[in-house]
Symmetry: C2
Subunit: 289 residues, 2 copies
């Protein structure tokens, strides 16, 4: 099955199980709205591509890991968009969850998705206890304290946040978890795959920063100019547009170099190249071709 289909099928099955008869209708609608249709699904794609590179001997485990990571990512988007953070009206080209369903539902959708992510992984423990235990800890670490995305978001309110640290926790942690989890789900070595996720996460955050400064709301499907408005760390505001663009290209090259050698490495590098182009701001992409 193609990676894209595995991801959508995995998420559908997870949601169907959670939203079987009995869930409050507005919460259920908010959860579905938040997950489908998806964005680029870059984190679960990365997770499954790494799992395939490592032999993918437990495909259900890898799919569960990819689903959990995407659920956690979506939860972070819903909460980040709340009025007390970005107060964003638009996400993925449609009204944000709190605009469409109200703020109480948006808080609960995020909470429910965090719970669902771990519940999804818990169903894999009997199949492969050691791997599932590590997957639970990798994903929990990537979103929790002290170095996960919740901590990254919290650094935004600290006066002394360091740009690189902030980006590492805010975005890098879930990318690193995606490659580590893909490896662990397939019995591979997490440590040699972590660097790839870290580099891609940094690249993605710099690309996001460039789009926040120079992007177009209609094209990227969310508001721009948010970082300057919130006095939030941003690579362009920090390094200038030229510096940020140079950094982004270097990070993508570093990510390609971080793919461990092996039979699937060419294919994985192609996937990374393709996905990186997707998140590259158009100016940078033309230039980097």
């Amino acid at each position: 099955m193609k990676i894209e289909s595995r991801i959508e099928k995995g998420l559908s099955q997870t949601l169907n199980r959670a939203l079987r008869t009995g869930a409050p209708p507005t919460l259920a609608a908010g959860v579905r709205y938040c997950i489908f249709p998806g964005g680029a699904r870059i984190r679960p794609k990365l997770c499954l591509a790494v799992a395939e590179s490592c032999g993918d001997d437990q495909p259900e485990l890898a799919t569960a890991a990819a689903s959990a990571i995407e659920l956690l990512h979506c939860a972070s988007l819903v909460h980040d968009d709340l009025p007390c953070f970005d107060d964003a009206d638009i996400r993925r080209g449609k009204p944000s969850v709190h605009r469409a369903f109200g703020e109480p539902t948006a808080v609960l959708v995020g909470d429910a998705l965090i719970v669902l992510a771990f519940e999804t992984l818990s169903h894999q423990i009997e199949r492969a206890p050691d791997r599932a235990a590590r997957l639970l800890r990798i994903t929990a670490g990537s979103v929790g304290m002290p170095f996960g995305i919740v901590a990254g978001q919290a650094w935004e309110d600290e006066p002394e946040a360091i740009l690189a640290d902030y980006q590492r926790t805010k975005t890098g942690s879930l990318f690193a978890a995606a490659t580590e989890a893909g490896a662990v789900a397939a019995g591979g070595d997490a440590t040699i795959w972590r660097m790839l996720g870290e580099r891609l996460g940094e690249a993605y955050q710099v690309a996001d920063d460039i789009q926040d400064v120079a992007g177009d709301t209609d094209r990227i499907g969310k508001p721009t100019g948010q970082d300057e408005m919130s006095a939030r760390p941003n690579a362009v505001l920090h390094h200038g547009m030229e510096g940020a663009t140079k950094l982004l290209k270097q990070l993508v090259r570093d990510a390609m170099d971080a793919v461990p050698p092996g039979p699937g490495s060419d294919r994985l590098q192609k996937i990374i190249e393709k996905e990186s182009k997707r998140f590259m701001p158009s100016e940078v992409m033309h230039d980097a071709a």
Copy 2:
């Protein structure tokens, strides 16, 4: 070790691990503020009392389960107190987390505690994979969709919520999880212990409803009159004060009767009697003595 000490020690160890060097200082302070000093800790007490009644052959597992349940309970309080829900200024006799640390930190404290609860349980998988898997699913089910406290909270916004269903998901689910988890952690039979938690959860919710109508903010440490203001299901508004009081007494008697027979049952009934008196509104308690 006494149950009270086990709970505080378990929570301290969990927080210390999560907040080791590197966590954003405001988030770390908010998390500690939310957990210490605690409230009645009734759910973890119940969990450990049941584990002891079942032999408690894996005390670290039971302590982890009790900690996870208390972390999830505290997370639900922080999010329930947010301006978009109860907008409560006071909790446990001090300013609510969003009043003390701001709304962004309160959202993140809740998220971080949910993650930490599951991370805490994940550390037990290698020790006892089957029990840990069940503990993860019991706790996830009790807070998530379709029947956990997140769903219970979401029913508040639905026009057709049924009082009993609402209370079962909103409060009963985490009480039921506490008794089930205590049994599972000690290798006991979850199904015969679930009823006790359900009854106690219902009793606790009715007591809470009575206090919301007739209680005193200074004594109970949180605002009153919230249910009527939010047009929220409340047993007193539904059954009248006399009816609610009668129901509460009956539910406590039912809980006592739901303790499975065995060597520890007398002791457990005593604990339940004592804890029930704690949450009984004073008028009811005098009357029930």
